[in-house]
């Protein structure tokens, strides 16, 4: 536990420390972190810091005590918990913050801190925690507050509360895979005697026994493991299309059928080893391709963004109820930083609503009593009282979701190999037919052998394998580069796009972040704190930039007087002391204009002009080069915000690309629709609720996020903002996928030709078949995996 003396970083979260907050000679960046450390330390949980360097999660500010009040609601508890008696409650929270073994260490020993917790088990894969606690000793609210305090605030939303679907898929698939593997390998073993003895095992009865054991072993593969393949083939046929699984299912049936016939009639040993092998490799492929990011949610509903609880005033008594029980006419209280759950009318208080999340509009709007406030807006400043005028489900923002595009599924595994398989099957069947004719003519006795052999050898399993393994590997590589795709089909969607639409706020720019420089005579800690507090009172975007996180323990008392001149500036005073923030004109009273290109906030403390903050919206690094890199595509920029940044944008993207400002979510959606109307295949990049419609409408909707596990709207892929500049490489990589698959198609067709040439001559001995099948499959797998990795490397996606 040594901290380097050179650069002071927080012992808890590793952030740089601006001032000296110490405990036990350890450095902390803020009181929050320090408090967590002290808590762990007094409960002997400092092993937390031994497992991993600076594992902690920075504690952002204090917690409004009543933030989790709604959790006291009975029905809410019932809804969230999976098992509920008066002595024990089991509950599963999703904790996106889980990131290292230290997290597990801390979370699984919570009962050391809070005896009310009976046991807590984390699921690292799904970033979940299973807690069972004694409701007599600790309330759900207290539990959640504890989690939030140590830095793991549960992601509780209405979806979670309505119970997640159980993913039993994996278990079933893995079991099927295991069974297939077991039977396949043992059948192999039992088949070797046949081959090695050149079919001449000394004791015929022993040979008999072997082939019957083999038969027995193959049954579970046929009936259990291969079920998935048959199902998919059958589904295809019912929809009148022959998908890739159809010929495979056919081959499997043939392989098993013929082998059973041979074994039972004693005419041969069959080749159940190949038959089971096919199934096994198919399943391996599927397993490999089904890389799912359990921790991520690709289809969040708007509900996820809304608060679960809200404080309602009933006959002057405030109580906390779940939003779902909110009725028209209810009086509700919305405090600082809280979201308005339903369209409502402002009754009293100065509302200052920030719609950026809903519309992308940066500037907060002032609302006078009597005006409408739309759901999804966030109140900045003191508490306000409203009356609900629409059910939450009817409010403006949610209308977006009544759009039918949210009901239709997209990018389900409609791989481009499926259409191909139609022709493939046609060719296959005709070859089989010709072979049949030929032998019927020459030597009918060999007819069955030849035909079945054709159907088995020509099985397109290697074709399917190539696709599944290529895309499986690509999914992994994308993932390693912080682009998480919903499924393999998305790769093809990305490969096909012609137009790219960017959202501005939070996509090209970084929300919340702004580069702030103070020019003038430096401020003391106390003065900085005063400025911060003053700024907190205002909802102006520039003020927000100044109102950074709680950073100092210095007590500066409470603001007595505060006045703001909208668009000009503000004045806050502590008795005699005062702080004036605002435009050059407002602060200095001079007509002087701006001193720089960037936005400025001038500062006057106690009637002494001290200088000004230079504030600039921060664009993600590498946007310019990216735009250049994406020349072959048609770029578009949409923004819910005003056009104040237009100049900068054109500087980055060039003047000739279409840019639209102050666009509503619905308009964004329509814009994408129009493009598609002109036969464009669109990729939409956006964050936030306001892009959800467009993301869903686009052929490939990519949600940008600063923390892949945090809120992201429904989409096909989630991209970490830090890698946005690599977009070009990503698209090229996706395109290469097709090429690789096609190449391996050719390879496998060669195999098939070799195999067929044997088969049509009815000359295919079980041994050759047995060797050919795994050999071809494995070589294909190696080929595609190596290719895709190589390409990734060339595109600079190979690292780590």
């Amino acid at each position: 536990m040594q901290e380097s003396p050179t650069q002071q970083t927080c012992y808890h979260c590793g952030d740089a420390c601006t001032e000296h907050i110490k405990a036990n000679g350890l450095q902390f960046c803020c009181n929050g972190c320090r408090q967590v450390y002290l808590l762990l330390q007094e409960n002997g949980l400092c092993g937390y810091y031994d497992l991993q360097q600076v594992p902690g999660i920075k504690v952002r500010g204090r917690f409004a005590g009543n933030r989790f009040n709604y959790l006291d609601d009975e029905t809410m508890q019932k809804r969230l918990s999976s098992f509920n008696t008066d002595t024990q409650v089991n509950i599963i929270f999703s904790l996106p913050q889980i990131h290292c073994s230290s997290c597990i260490f801390l979370l699984e020993q919570l009962n050391k801190i809070e005896p009310g917790i009976i046991s807590s088990q984390t699921n690292f894969e799904r970033k979940e925690i299973f807690i069972s606690y004694d409701p007599r000793l600790i309330s759900l609210k207290k539990l959640v507050q504890l989690l939030a305090f140590v830095g793991y605030e549960p992601d509780i939303n209405q979806e979670a509360s309505t119970g997640r679907p159980k993913r039993s898929y994996n278990r079933g698939a893995i079991a099927a895979l295991g069974v297939a593997g077991f039977c396949f390998s043992n059948i192999m073993m039992l088949s070797f005697p046949e081959y090695f003895s050149g079919g001449e095992i000394e004791e015929p009865w022993l040979k008999q026994t072997f082939s019957y054991i083999i038969l027995a072993l193959s049954i579970p593969v046929l009936l259990y493991s291969s079920a998935a393949i048959f199902k998919s083939a059958f589904k295809g046929l019912r929809q009148g299309m022959i998908n890739i699984d159809a010929p495979i299912a056919l081959a499997i049936l043939m392989g098993f059928g013929r082998s059973y016939y041979e074994i039972i009639t004693g005419t041969g040993a069959g080749y159940l080893d190949s038959a089971t092998g096919i199934v096994f490799f198919m399943l391996v492929g599927r397993w490999f391709q089904n890389k799912t990011y359990n921790a991520l949610s690709f289809d969040r509903q708007y509900k996820s963004y809304f608060p679960l609880g809200v404080s309602v005033i009933n006959n002057n008594k405030e109580e906390n109820i779940p939003v779902t029980r909110l009725k028209i006419g209810d009086r509700i209280v919305i405090r600082n930083e809280e979201m308005v759950p339903a369209d409502a009318v402002l009754l009293e208080g100065k509302a200052c609503i920030d719609y950026s999340f809903v519309t992308g509009e940066q500037e907060a709007v002032r609302i006078e009593a009597g005006a409408m406030v739309q759901a999804g807006g966030k109140q900045k400043g003191s508490a306000v009282y409203l009356r609900v005028v629409k059910e939450p489900s009817q409010s403006y923002i949610t209308q977006l979701w009544n759009n039918d595009i949210f009901s239709k599924e997209k990018n389900q595994d409609q791989s481009f190999i499926h259409p191909w398989s139609r022709y493939f099957t046609a060719v296959l069947l005709s070859i089989a037919f010709l072979t049949a004719l030929f032998w019927a003519w020459h030597d009918p006795s060999k007819l069955l052998t030849a035909v079945t052999a054709v159907l088995i050898v020509a099985c397109p399993c290697s074709l399917l394998l190539s696709a599944t393994f290529t895309y499986g590997n690509m999914l992994r590589i994308f993932g390693r580069n912080k682009l998480f795709l919903k499924n393999a089909a998305v790769i093809e969607a990305v490969a096909g796009i012609t137009d790219i639409v960017f959202d501005k706020t939070g996509t090209i720019t970084q929300t919340g972040k702004a580069s702030i420089q103070f020019k003038g005579q430096p401020l003391s800690i106390e003065e900085r704190e005063k400025v911060r507090q003053a700024a907190t009172q205002s909802a102006h975007s520039l003020s927000k930039a100044l109102a950074g996180p709680y950073e100092s323990s210095e007590a500066v008392g409470y603001i007595d007087a505060f006045e703001e001149l909208p668009g000009e500036g503000l004045t806050a005073s502590w008795g005699a002391a005062s702080v004036k923030l605002g435009s050059n004109g407002y602060v200095r009273g001079l007509p002087a204009g701006k001193l720089s290109t960037a936005a400025e906030v001038h500062v006057k403390i106690d009637d002494a002009y001290r200088g000004y903050y230079e504030i600039q919206q921060v664009y993600r690094p590498g946007m310019g080069p990216m735009a250049a890199d994406l020349l072959p595509f048609n770029l578009h920029v949409l923004s819910g915000d005003n056009d104040s940044e237009k100049a900068n944008l054109q500087h980055l993207f060039g003047t000739d690309i279409p840019m639209k400002f102050a666009v509503s979510p619905q308009q964004k959606l329509n814009y994408v629709k129009e493009l598609q109307g002109q036969h464009a295949s669109v990729m939409m990049l956006g964050d936030g609720l306001n892009d959800a419609g467009a993301l869903k409408q686009a052929n490939a909707g990519i949600a940008i996020s600063n923390d892949a596990a945090r809120f992201t709207p429904a989409c096909d892929a989630i991209m970490d903002g830090t890698v946005l500049h690599q977009l070009g490489a990503f698209i090229r990589f996706a395109k290469s996928g097709r090429a690789i698959v096609l190449a391996s198609f050719i390879l496998s067709i060669l195999y098939n030709i070799i195999g067929l040439s044997f088969a049509v001559q009815a000359k295919l001995s079980p041994v050759v078949a047995a060797i050919l099948m795994p050999a071809s499959s494995i070589s294909i797998i190696l080929f595609v995996t190596l290719c895709s990795s190589a390409v990734a490397h060339r595109l600079g996606l190979g690292k780590n």
Binding site: D50, F124, E125, F182, N186, T209, I213
Partner: protein, 55 residues
């Protein structure tokens, strides 16, 4: 080689029982999370009163 008969038979019996074990472990969710367990085994839980984990 009647010994083969016995050996193969018994081998299959054993292997079979392990297959059953495999299916049980998968279906009972043993492998739903294939990371946490490897970390969890690192610390034994002494009673809260007893010696603390910190150095």
């Amino acid at each position: 080689m009647s010994a083969f008969f016995i050996l193969v038979g018994i081998s299959m019996m054993v292997a079979g029982s392990f297959l059953a074990a495999f299916i049980w472990s998968v279906s009972s969710g043993q492998y739903d999370d294939d990371y946490t367990a490897s970390v969890r085994m690192l610390w034994d839980n002494p009673p809260a009163g007893a010696k603390k984990n910190d150095k």
